[in-house]
């Protein structure tokens, strides 16, 4: 009974497959591409279309505070050659670059301690403490820093108690970095912790077995193994800091302006949507460049050789 039914089913399925099989084999991935359609639609509607519109707007004109379709390159030349834009661009690059260096430099030893030095329970706890800030309000955390750093804030009150200060902690490069690191550090540490947890421990043992001291293992095994993760940490920190609006606004009072601040200012003063779009598009181009640089660096020497082959 069972044997018979199995045979029937088997031959039925064979028959069912016989006709369509060549077509399925010929167009490999009909089903996968069907499944991909929702993602493509999503990307088209919510990413590609606004992006194209953003680029189109850069060529439009504003006449008596009203946006009109046109095709002028005036917006581009005015923005790209304006000293304000150039200063803001350099400033934003320096700020985001500093955040990137600080984030990687601070996150690496922290992640190393969490991944390699803590026990399993302490490690889980540390990861939980890192995940919580990622999902809590960034704005709230910046307000908290204002209370800590302001001239009448907690830090200055404590310093005043021992006869120091008040120090101008809020409103400069220091407080800006504090704000940006609040945004980037938890993510940077998390990326590195997960990457370090994925390192093959036998590689570390093999290095020691082959004469590598504990201290040199970091340089010779851990950092080379983490190359893609370090590149990802750096690009993520840079992208977050580069486009951030909240920290420059609340921690420095917009002076000097970053590119995000400049976009808002441009829109506010005279509804210059096209010029704001020029800044926006320039930022996107720079982010794309930074991302590809990160990609290139993440592959490493041996990886690049493989890709070139």
């Amino acid at each position: 009974m069972t044997a018979a039914s199995v045979t029937t089913r088997a031959s039925a399925s064979r028959r069912w497959f016989r006709l369509p099989r060549p077509r399925i084999a010929g167009s490999s991935g009909v089903l996968p591409s069907l499944l991909g359609i929702p993602v493509v639609l999503w990307q088209a509607v919510f990413f590609a279309a606004p992006l194209i519109f953003l680029v189109v707007v850069t060529f439009w004109q504003v006449k008596s505070f009203r946006l009109e379709p046109a095709f002028v390159v005036d917006n581009w030349t005015r923005i790209l050659f304006s000293a304000t834009f150039q200063r803001a661009l350099v400033h934003t690059f320096l700020v985001a670059g500093t955040t990137t260096v600080l984030a990687v430099a601070i996150a690496f030893p922290a992640a190393y301690t969490i991944a390699f030095r803590l026990g399993a329970r302490a490690r889980d706890l540390a990861v939980a403490f890192l995940v919580v800030p990622v999902f809590s309000s960034y704005m709230l955390r910046i307000y908290a820093w204002q209370i800590v750093l302001s001239p009448e804030g907690i830090t200055n009150a404590l310093l005043g108690g021992i006869g120091i200060g008040p120090l101008p902690l809020l409103g400069g490069a220091f407080s800006l970095q504090v704000g940006l690191l609040t945004l980037t550090l938890p993510i940077a540490v998390l990326i590195l912790v997960f990457a370090m947890a994925g390192i093959d421990r036998t590689l570390i043992e093999a290095a020691e077995n082959l004469g590598c001291r504990r201290a040199r293992v970091i340089a010779h095994v851990i950092i080379p193994s983490l190359r893609p993760a370090i590149a990802l940490t750096a690009t993520t920190s840079f992208l977050l800091a580069f486009g951030d609006y909240i920290s420059p606004l609340f921690m420095t009072g917009s002076k000097p302006p970053t590119l995000s601040i400049l976009i808002v200012d441009t829109v506010k003063s005279g509804s210059q949507w096209p010029r704001a779009s020029v800044i926006g598009v320039s930022m996107l181009v720079m982010l794309a460049l930074v991302l590809s640089l990160g990609q290139y660096l993440s592959r490493g020497r041996t990886g690049r050789k493989e890709a070139a082959r």
Partner: protein, 360 residues
């Protein structure tokens, strides 16, 4: 007396939840090829890791070349290991992998490249130097791992199941290669494996371990023919263990009676009546006949193992025997499952298990 090159003295390793190595004593001579064998979890790999300094013993001592290794970190021991997973550095090229130990010794760039290329050449990997590790086949990667371990010309090489990831064909080729390297270099090889064929093919001596303790140390043929206890006899696989009790002695042979019947077994030392008479008879020492004298049994099945076949026979009384036979003998007797057979052997070929040590 000659001092051993590697001496394990009451070596002990306890983890929080289990006792991995229990008071192991072992002397390994310089230039010897020794294999540590046993089922998984028997402590063979832990012993190797203790020699390499990757784990700290919780008791006892290891001496290499007469020097105590107590407090000597792994990176100062020069006891390179070939890992089961190979542990090649994926971010380095083949040549850089091989040169890695030299780089750690601060050998100059040109010199370490020359020596790395020399070893690659020696292992048949000339022309692979600039490749990525990922671009190599399993066998080539294995050779890179061996070259990397030998490039500093150490006096000992540790191997932790190095061939288990390879397919059967490659495994045999690498065995030959390892054998050749051992002969040419004349250094000590300590080889951990669970594969009997590898240990038999390669090792001068084998060490059988179980549950953290050494069960027997000896030349492969001696351990095979004269197992020290029931565990070793069963681990060796091709032995048939017969349980029994000593009943007396006649003409230099012991009379032994057990559930399967009465047997005669030689013994080097006298044994009192009533003591254990467990003995083993090797699978290739048993004669099969259609009828006549001997243990009566029924053929259960056959297993083809190359030049010979293993015949599984169920003995009346419950035991299962393995008998090794040539193909033509099997055909002559028409051994098919269900066939009744008689098993017999020369009593001189039976091996009486030494009496279990008195419980402390």
């Amino acid at each position: 007396m000659k001092t051993p090159f590697i001496a394990l003295d009451q070596l002990d390793k306890r983890y929080a939840d289990h006792h991995a190595v229990k008071s192991v004593d072992l002397d390994i001579e310089a230039g010897e090829f020794i294999a540590l064998m046993g089922p998984s979890g028997c402590g063979k790999s832990t012993t190797l890791r203790l020699i390499a300094g990757l784990d700290e013993p919780t008791g006892g001592e290891i001496r290499i070349g007469g020097d105590s290794m107590r407090g000597v970190p792994a990176f100062q021991r020069n006891t390179p290991m070939v890992w089961q997973s190979l542990a090649l550095f994926p971010f380095l090229t083949v040549a850089e992998n091989v040169a890695f130990p030299l780089r750690m010794q601060k050998v100059g760039t040109a010199e370490r490249r020359r020596r790395a290329l020399e070893w690659l050449d020696r292992l048949g990997l000339a022309g692979m130097a600039e490749r990525n590790v990922a671009q190599l086949s399993g066998g080539q990667r294995q050779r890179v791992a061996i070259a990397r371990a030998l490039v500093t010309e150490p006096s000992v090489l540790l191997l932790d199941e190095p061939l288990s990831a390879l397919d059967a064909h490659l495994r045999v080729r690498m065995q030959t290669e390892l054998s050749r390297l051992h002969r040419e270099l004349g250094i000590t090889f300590v080889y951990v494996t669970h594969a009997q064929s590898e240990a038999f093919a390669l090792a001068d001596r084998i060490v059988i371990m179980s549950e953290g303790s050494i069960q027997q140390v000896g030349r492969p043929q001696d351990v095979y023919r004269a197992p020290a206890n029931a565990f070793v006899a069963e681990f060796m696989g091709m032995n048939n263990l017969v349980r029994g009790e000593v009943r007396g002695e006649r003409d230099g042979l012991l009379d032994i009676a057990g559930a399967l019947g009465e047997f005669r077994v030689p013994s080097a030392t006298p044994r009192p009546e009533g003591s254990s008479g467990d003995f083993v008879i090797a699978a290739d020492r048993i004669a099969l006949a259609a009828d006549g004298e001997g243990l009566a049994g029924t053929v259960l099945g056959l297993e083809f193992v190359g030049s010979t076949q293993t015949v599984f026979v169920e003995i009346e009384g419950g035991a299962e025997f393995r008998v090794q036979k040539q193909q033509h003998e099997i055909e002559a007797l028409d051994l098919v499952p269900g066939r009744k057979v008689r098993l017999s052997w020369n009593p001189q070929h039976a091996w009486l298990l030494p009496q279990p040590a008195q419980a402390h």
